[in-house]
Symmetry: C2
Subunit: 171 residues, 2 copies
DNA sequence: GTCAATTTGACAATGTGTTGTCAAATTGAC
DNA sequence: GTCAATTTGACAACACATTGTCAAATTGAC
């Protein structure tokens, strides 16, 4: 009998092939998801990137500076900074002084920004319903679990502490 | 009893939440995978994008022009063109005249290019083995099947004919 | 054979992310 | 309180993908 810690070359090769396929499909799905998201909110003056920033603002219990938003989202400061600059230019977001830190202004949604975000959220709901129609939740959850496991292995012990505490759990 | 076509609001909402989580994790995993891939082959003079182009060349039975490679890879002509330009500048790839089409030169790997690709493939094998260690192949394959199903729904009837014939049908 | 439609590569602009560097502001060890 | 380390935003450069436009080459209907 085979021991648990010593899988056959056959199993190893099947596993490797399956993982390679999965990875390639993650790349491809990432591409079509971004394209779909952009198309979904384009006429609201949003893109996937800006939408994501609005989401981070909406989920936070209080207005946050750019660097804090970036940590929450797992992106770099600069990437978020650019999106915020654009959102500000379009009037969807505004900066307010931070009493605790003169440089780190707090980002807050304007009324038009909140309206756009609400509209995007409403569309995303029906879009997701249509996309997931007749897929068993268990299958989706199992796949998500695997993706998380892979990400955890790739990123090391705990690379995204911002994911944990209080922000992302609520969504 | 509940009919198959009319899921409860409860199931629908669970499904929606699961799908949203999955999508966010696809984005995150995409990011760490690209970073890992870049790190894996950086010292070979490769990046994820260049590596992918070399892979398409290696898999093709004969040298192909840039536009054909792009279709095979599901990317735009211009994106592949730039990678090919860079690979050519680094001597990993070379263009040869196409007897059937004066403009569409054929892209072929040079000996250094093949050496780099072989080295990258070897590393990828051990990397994938380590990453997939102790994950049951069935789980990986099931997750991959779901990603493919989602992609098929998002992209419409048949958006990537190059991938289709024998890969997508099997899931 | 002719000519419109398609394919191909070149070029430019844009979106989104990265890294690196810098100065100002804040924090913390002492 | 002082001063080094960290955090923050500004700015620049780059990697990778997109779209759009153009001219040359090829293909196909006629």
């Amino acid at each position: 009998m085979r021991q648990a810690g010593a899988p056959s070359a056959e199993v190893r090769s099947r596993r490797r092939a399956a993982l390679t396929d999965l990875i390639l499909d993650v790349f491809r799905l990432n591409g079509v998801l971004l394209a779909s998201g952009d198309a979904l909110v384009a006429d609201l003056g949003l893109t996937s990137a800006r939408w994501q920033v609005l989401g981070a603002i909406a989920l936070a219990p209080a207005p946050l500076p750019v660097a804090h938003l970036a940590r929450t989202m797992g992106l770099t400061r600069q990437a978020v900074q650019r999106s915020v600059d654009e959102l500000r230019a379009d009037g969807l977001v505004r900066l307010e002084p931070n009493p605790h830190h003169r440089r780190a202004a707090l980002v807050r949604m304007t009324e038009p920004g909140e309206a756009a975000y609400r509209a995007a959220s409403r569309r995303q709901e029906t879009w997701a319903d249509a996309l997931a129609a007749d897929l068993p939740p268990e299958i989706i959850e199992a796949a998500d679990g695997l993706l998380r496991a892979l990400r955890a292995r790739l990123a090391g012990p705990d690379p995204s502490p911002a994911t944990a505490p209080d922000t992302l759990e609520t969504c």
